[in-house]
């Protein structure tokens, strides 16, 4: 059994070589599992180090992300400002152009000239509508336009829509019925008006005979506002697409005296606003019979509606002077009326429109609404004159509401009468900046006089 030293060394050498070779094999026995385990342990430690390093990198990139986020927020803010500026700067010259064109009409003597100017005016107001809608859509998508939910008197809102659309309905010989109601709903007044306005406008556009009925009824804690038309209906294959941008149905023949069938943006913006407000909009339609839109709104408690003062809209650096200023616009030319309304809306005024003094008086019947300022075209429907209308209005209101008379032809007669009334005269074409300056001036004067005005109101 005894081995020589050399033989021992040879055996040791053989064992070591075998071991080295085995360690190259993939097939492991228990000892190689142990070795692997230690290898794993070493790798685990490395992995821990790597994880720590990754964590540090993550922290770094988190900081970078935060910086990027802040930059993005700044960018978003400037985008907000850009949109606000765009809506103002893009639309204002356009409105000015519309106002100028309206003045141009009055200067035309030939029928051909009238026709051309009308066409230009039409195109401009289409452009205006398109731009306005696109800006609204981007504001909604960008989260810039945020709803300000407050109790809204639905009856008054529907009534004002009725008066806006009545001329269009009449022109197309369609019935437009609005069932009165005295509910308050929780919504954003401006957005809700826009939603219903677009639905109503579509209903009229795609209806050739019959008319449109607008009503509201309670459904549990909700109020369902329904717009029902006897129009051509929506084919089932378009149910999904009607709310998409630039979807257009075929307008009813003879609709709107050659006006285009709309931009196809009305319901796209409705969908966005309904989403932003978290309302529920649905429709049922039968081709050839008509369409029935239903908007479900949360009812506001009357007590709350009275107790809760309307929240002020956020300060707008462009037009904070006029926030909440109520302006009555007397104007018989529809595109001009709309351009003016747009301009005033852009200045955050709340504008009501009337085409005759009679209509203006009707507006005053609306609860709680009296104008802070009147803008009157000298030439109104039914041969009314702006100056007469202002005089009558002041009598009705019981105080000297500031007024601006707009005319293309300021004859000495008009100027004298205006100065006797204490009204200002502006010449067409209106320049928005001048109008704004004059309005600001009149309103500031009015504010100083307010105390005495209230005294008088109290004595009566």
């Amino acid at each position: 059994m005894a081995r020589g030293p050399l033989e021992k060394l040879e055996r040791i050498n053989a064992a070591l070589m075998e071991r080295v070779e085995r360690s190259m094999d993939q097939q492991g026995n228990a000892f190689s599992l142990f070795q692997t385990a230690i290898g794993l342990e070493t790798r685990m430690r490395q992995r821990t180090d790597e994880l720590a390093a990754t964590l540090r990198r993550l922290e770094q990139s988190n900081r970078a992300l935060n910086q990027a986020k802040e930059a993005a927020e700044r960018a978003n803010l400037s985008k907000t400002r850009f949109l606000a500026a765009a809506s103002h700067d893009v639309l204002q010259p356009l409105n000015a152009a519309i106002l100028s064109v309206s003045a141009l009409i009055e200067l035309q003597t030939s029928e051909r000239g009238h026709q051309l100017v009308r066409q230009v005016e039409q195109s401009l107001s289409t452009m205006d509508e398109l731009l306005r809608t696109l800006i609204d859509i981007s504001k909604l998508d960008g989260g810039v336009m945020r709803p300000e939910v407050a109790p809204v008197p639905l009856g008054a809102l529907l009534e004002s829509l009725r008066s806006d659309f009545a001329p269009i309905a009449a022109e197309r010989e369609l019935a437009l019925k609005v069932r009165p109601n005295d509910h308050f709903v929780l919504s954003d007044r401006t957005m809700l008006r826009r939603i219903l306005q677009n639905i109503l406008s579509n209903a009229l556009r795609y209806t050739a005979r019959g008319g449109v009925l607008v009503g509201a009824r309670r459904r549990g804690g909700l109020l369902s506002v329904e717009v029902i038309d006897t129009g051509k209906g929506i084919p089932p294959d378009q149910y999904e697409t009607v709310f998409e941008e630039f979807h257009r149905g075929l307008a009813s023949p003879g609709a709107d005296g050659g006006r285009p069938a709309g931009l196809g943006l009305g319901l796209a913006i409705v969908r966005r606003m309904v989403q932003a407000l978290d309302h529920d909009l649905s429709f049922a339609s039968q081709v050839g019979r008509g369409t029935h839109f239903r908007l479900l709104l949360p009812l506001a408690d009357m007590a709350v509606a009275v107790a809760e003062p309307r929240r002020k809209p956020p300060a707008d650096p462009v037009a904070h002077h006029f926030a909440e200023t109520r302006v009555l616009v007397l104007e018989n030319d529809r595109p001009v009326m709309q351009a003016m309304a747009a301009l005033l809306e852009g200045w955050r005024c709340s504008a009501r429109l009337a085409s005759s003094s009679a209509e203006g008086f009707e507006l005053l019947e609306e609860v709680g609404w009296t104008p802070d300022l009147v803008l009157a075209d000298q030439h109104l429907d039914g041969g009314d004159l702006g100056l007469d209308a202002v005089e009558l209005l002041r009598d009705r209101l019981g105080w000297q509401v500031p007024a601006i008379i707009i005319t293309a032809d300021p004859s000495p007669d008009i100027v004298v009468r205006a100065s006797l009334l204490g009204a200002e005269v502006m010449r067409k074409p209106l320049k928005p900046a001048e109008l704004r300056a004059l309005m600001a001036h009149l309103l500031a004067r009015k504010k100083r006089k307010r105390a005495s005005v209230w005294h008088r109101a109290a004595r009566r």
Partner: protein
């Protein structure tokens, strides 16, 4: 007649004793489980105290609702320090811990893939269980110390556990080397392993500690039976003889004491790991507590400074946890023997008592994916839970 009871702030209660009947001890466990609202216990028992079937029967009668994992030992570490011939029960309160356990039997013929799959399943169960809310997971392993399967099992478990920390110990039989026993919920088995996945709301830290100073003497395995963990020759000489020569003692006196005081270590990945010798056979071959192979180069080492290195490790763990509430430790039986040899038995025992280490004497220790020898592995629980109350 007495049953020691120690309640820890983290929600663990330890019961231990030796001079009472298995039935009385089981009754104490049953009462304590109800009182502490604990539905799971780990139990470590010496075969001198009782046989596994008796313990299972006593628990079935006295603690019918309790789930438990138990194993036989080679010594115990009770709240009073080193003990022998005792039984120790560690009850996990449901308020802080949720335990899922499974047993793998017939380790000799089990496929690693099956085991890894079962572990992954258990892991999903443990991650889904809502008993202890959202705590972190750790794994405890009890495995037959005579199964010769620890490396295969820890590797397989690691597949399924991945980053869940694992510690454990190999069951012993008081250095008889005949048979160790494991019990899971009344089912007894040898050649088996029990894996517990514990979701803990109490902060914890796993660790291992050892202490070796390598010498220049090398022993190369020139003939062996790896499956039997048996080394026939070192350096082309009968293994026992070569080893005895290397450590400078008479081959006839070789025994656990000499293996404990003269460990052989293997160098892997720049560090030394102990490969402990279990026993010497009449033919001069040596059986190990762990895997060996032909051509493995072993270095004779000296286990110096066990007290200091253990104390330092426990201090470091305590610092990290903000104070140690309890350590569940797996303490190699050879450490205990070496401590006896060096007259540091009382010091170590005191150190364990001071640091609230409880556990048992093992035939091998598991730490993450490794099977180790002559170490203390364990899991330390912090005191944060105490402050939270």
């Amino acid at each position: 007649m007495t049953c020691g009871r120690t309640a820890y702030a983290c929600g663990i209660v330890a019961l231990h004793g030796s001079d009472l009947s298995v039935n009385d001890f089981a009754a104490a466990i049953g009462r304590e489980a109800l009182a502490a609202e604990a539905s799971f216990a780990s139990i470590f028992f010496s075969h001198e105290f009782c046989e596994a079937p008796h313990l299972a029967e006593a628990l079935r009668r006295n603690a019918p609702g309790l789930r438990y994992a138990a194993c036989s030992t080679a010594g115990e570490v009770s709240p009073d320090g080193y003990a022998a011939g005792h039984i120790l029960a560690v009850l996990f309160s449901d308020a802080r811990f949720a335990v899922k356990a499974t047993m793998f039997d017939a380790l000799g013929s089990r496929s690693m893939d099956d085991m890894a799959a079962r572990v992954a399943e258990l892991r999903r169960e443990a991650e889904a269980c809502d008993g202890a809310g959202r705590g972190s997971l750790f794994a405890l392993l009890l495995i037959d110390g005579l199964s010769r399967a620890e490396e295969a099992v820890t590797s397989a478990l690691h597949w399924g556990l991945d980053d869940i920390p694992l510690v454990g110990g190999s069951a012993g039989d008081d250095l008889r080397f005949e048979k160790t026993t494991l019990i899971l919920d009344g089912r007894t088995a040898s050649d088996a392993a029990i894996l517990m996945l514990v979701r803990s709301q109490v902060p914890f830290q796993v660790f291992k500690t050892d202490n070796f100073v390598p010498t220049s003497r090398k022993l190369v395995v020139t003939e062996s039976n790896p499956d039997a963990r048996r080394v026939v020759e070192f350096n082309a000489e009968p293994a026992a003889q070569a080893y005895a020569e290397a450590i400078g003692i008479d081959p006839q006196t070789l025994g656990p004491m000499s293996f404990a005081s003269h460990p052989v270590v293997v160098r892997v990945g720049g560090e030394y790991y102990c490969r402990s010798i279990q026993k010497v056979h009449p033919d001069g071959s040596l059986t190990f507590f762990c895997a060996i192979d032909n051509g493995v180069v072993l270095t004779v080492a000296q286990p110096k400074g066990m007290v200091e290195s253990t104390r330092d490790k426990l201090l470091a763990i305590g610092d990290r946890l903000g104070g140690i509430d309890l350590v569940l430790g797996f303490d190699c039986v050879l450490r205990r023997l070496d401590a006896e040899n060096r007259q540091s038995f009382r010091t170590i025992s005191q150190l364990y008592r001071d640091n609230r280490v409880i556990g048992f004497g093992t035939y091998g220790e598991q730490f993450r994916s490794m099977h180790l020898n002559q170490t203390l592995t364990g899991i330390a629980f912090g005191r944060a839970a105490e402050a939270a109350e």
